[in-house]
Symmetry: C2
């Protein structure tokens, strides 16, 4: 089994307290002087002097601010404000995000990631996809209601499969054009309407690498907050290693031996001459580690 | 391992042909006299004389119709038209859906389910959630583009965990208020931003039944097209069977012995005096069957 306890963006200590979200009176009672409000710079985290996430109080936010109820921590209600604008560019290019992933304690990173996905969704859903009318935050931020038609909208999480493929002791990894040189990772793709996890894995490997995968096995999952994916990590096997790479998606894909992967892992962030091992905060890191260590 | 080959709504014979979606010329070339267009009555299936899904040609649909490219079947392009209106009521109350689930061959049911989710999403996303402007179908129905701002929107699939909980040889099942009398099924709930599959399973069981689950294990998944969920079926264990039922979600939840479950399965659709076994087209059926037979 993968070491699921150390997967980045999981393990938030906040209790989601669903029963409060759905009860207007209970939610109002939580909006008191003890409540904590996550400080955000747009969608980016703000750090306090100790390098932890910074929290303020309800007095710090305008009365008109839309607030999401994240849940309870040490008996105190935790909120996050919806920013004026949602995510516009890719998060991986943002230095504040990189420093957060490297600096924050695991539980705090999970709290930040979950809050970010939620408030970003609100910022990008101020209108009703059904009728175009304005929407309003409801249920403590776990719903938006259309003011024109009666449509209800809910925060979105997109399931994505990310997979290892093995052929006779070697693993298939690929690189996207945006990756730094020598960095390879597991192939991945969104689960589409009408397919199982296993079907999505097989389709992605076929589309991206021209390889037929069998015996798909679930390994571990990760919430990924850029903007809001559920990464479903799997392992599979192929009988024929011949690659036909989809060059619109991938720069390259190759088979790596156990020795190459072990060497890259041991080399840390700088990698070997051939390979930089997937970073510790991505689930591909856990998948390859699981495969090497099992 | 669960018998994944027989999970309803999976196993469509249509090849999704992603490379055609993203290539305007290739897509236009497929819109010829050989192309097949799925007949739908709103979102409901239409059957031909043999009880299979009925297909027409491009000549049957208005030139202004929005069409989704489902993929290739026997070398022919398959399309489905976006209906005027998306899903409004719950599908489980619709007799045409029930008869489709019972009558269609597995591959055809999967084709219908995937097409339904996709065209329903289009019908409910004619406007941009970011700016309220009108949107237009793009990429053969795998995207919508806003005509006012530059936002791109993609078909939505919601990951849902559905789980068995075992305590000393008994399984926890619950019933929603809308279920027929004596019908119990596995507990379930949406995966939220910021949590893993395992965290979502533990949270749902805690919220709905007041039980702490451990050792969550993935069993099987199912695409569920009402409107578009990815059901992620899991198994878990608890050490303390005392229940605190969330009566806003559940009518009842109870522990069932192996003998009770075996008897209900053997009794078929009519069930025993205590229990109707989950229907064959829901993943709960496969989860409980997997548990009984392993």
């Amino acid at each position: 089994m993968a070491d699921r306890a150390n997967i980045a963006f999981s393990g938030s200590p906040i209790e989601r307290a669903d029963h409060i979200r759905v009860d207007d009176d209970a939610l109002a009672a939580q909006m008191n002087w003890r409540a904590r409000v996550l400080r955000l710079d747009g969608l980016n985290p703000v750090f306090d002097d100790s390098g932890a996430l910074e929290w303020g109080t309800l007095a710090d936010v305008p009365e008109t601010a839309e607030l999401c109820f994240l849940g309870l921590l040490d008996g105190k209600a935790c909120f996050a404000p919806v920013p004026d604008e949602g995510a516009t560019g890719p998060a991986y290019a943002n230095p504040q995000i990189w420093s957060a992933m490297q600096a924050l304690q695991p539980g705090e990173l999970a709290t930040y990631g979950g809050a970010r996905s939620l408030v970003d969704w609100h910022a990008r859903h101020r209108f009703c996809a059904r009728c175009g009318g304005p929407t309003k935050l409801a249920k403590g931020g776990w719903q938006r209601n259309c003011s024109s038609c009666d449509a209800q909208h809910f925060p979105r999480t997109d399931p994505v499969t990310i997979m290892l493929v093995e052929h006779e002791g070697r693993l298939l990894l690929g690189r996207q054009p945006r990756f730094p040189p020598r960095m390879y990772s597991a192939l991945a793709g969104f689960v589409e309407p009408g397919e199982t996890i296993e079907e999505a894995v097989a389709r992605e490997i076929w589309e991206e690498a021209g390889v037929r995968a069998r015996d798909v096995q679930y390994v571990a999952s990760q919430p990924w907050p850029f903007p809001s994916q559920l990464m479903i990590g799997c392992y599979s096997v192929t009988d024929d290693p011949e690659l036909t790479i989809d060059t619109t998606e991938l720069d390259d894909a190759r088979w790596f031996t156990r020795e190459e992967l072990e060497a890259a892992r041991a080399a840390g962030d700088r990698g070997t001459d051939d390979l930089i091992f997937p970073r510790s905060f991505v689930i591909a890191h856990h998948l390859v580690t699981w495969w090497l260590d099992r």
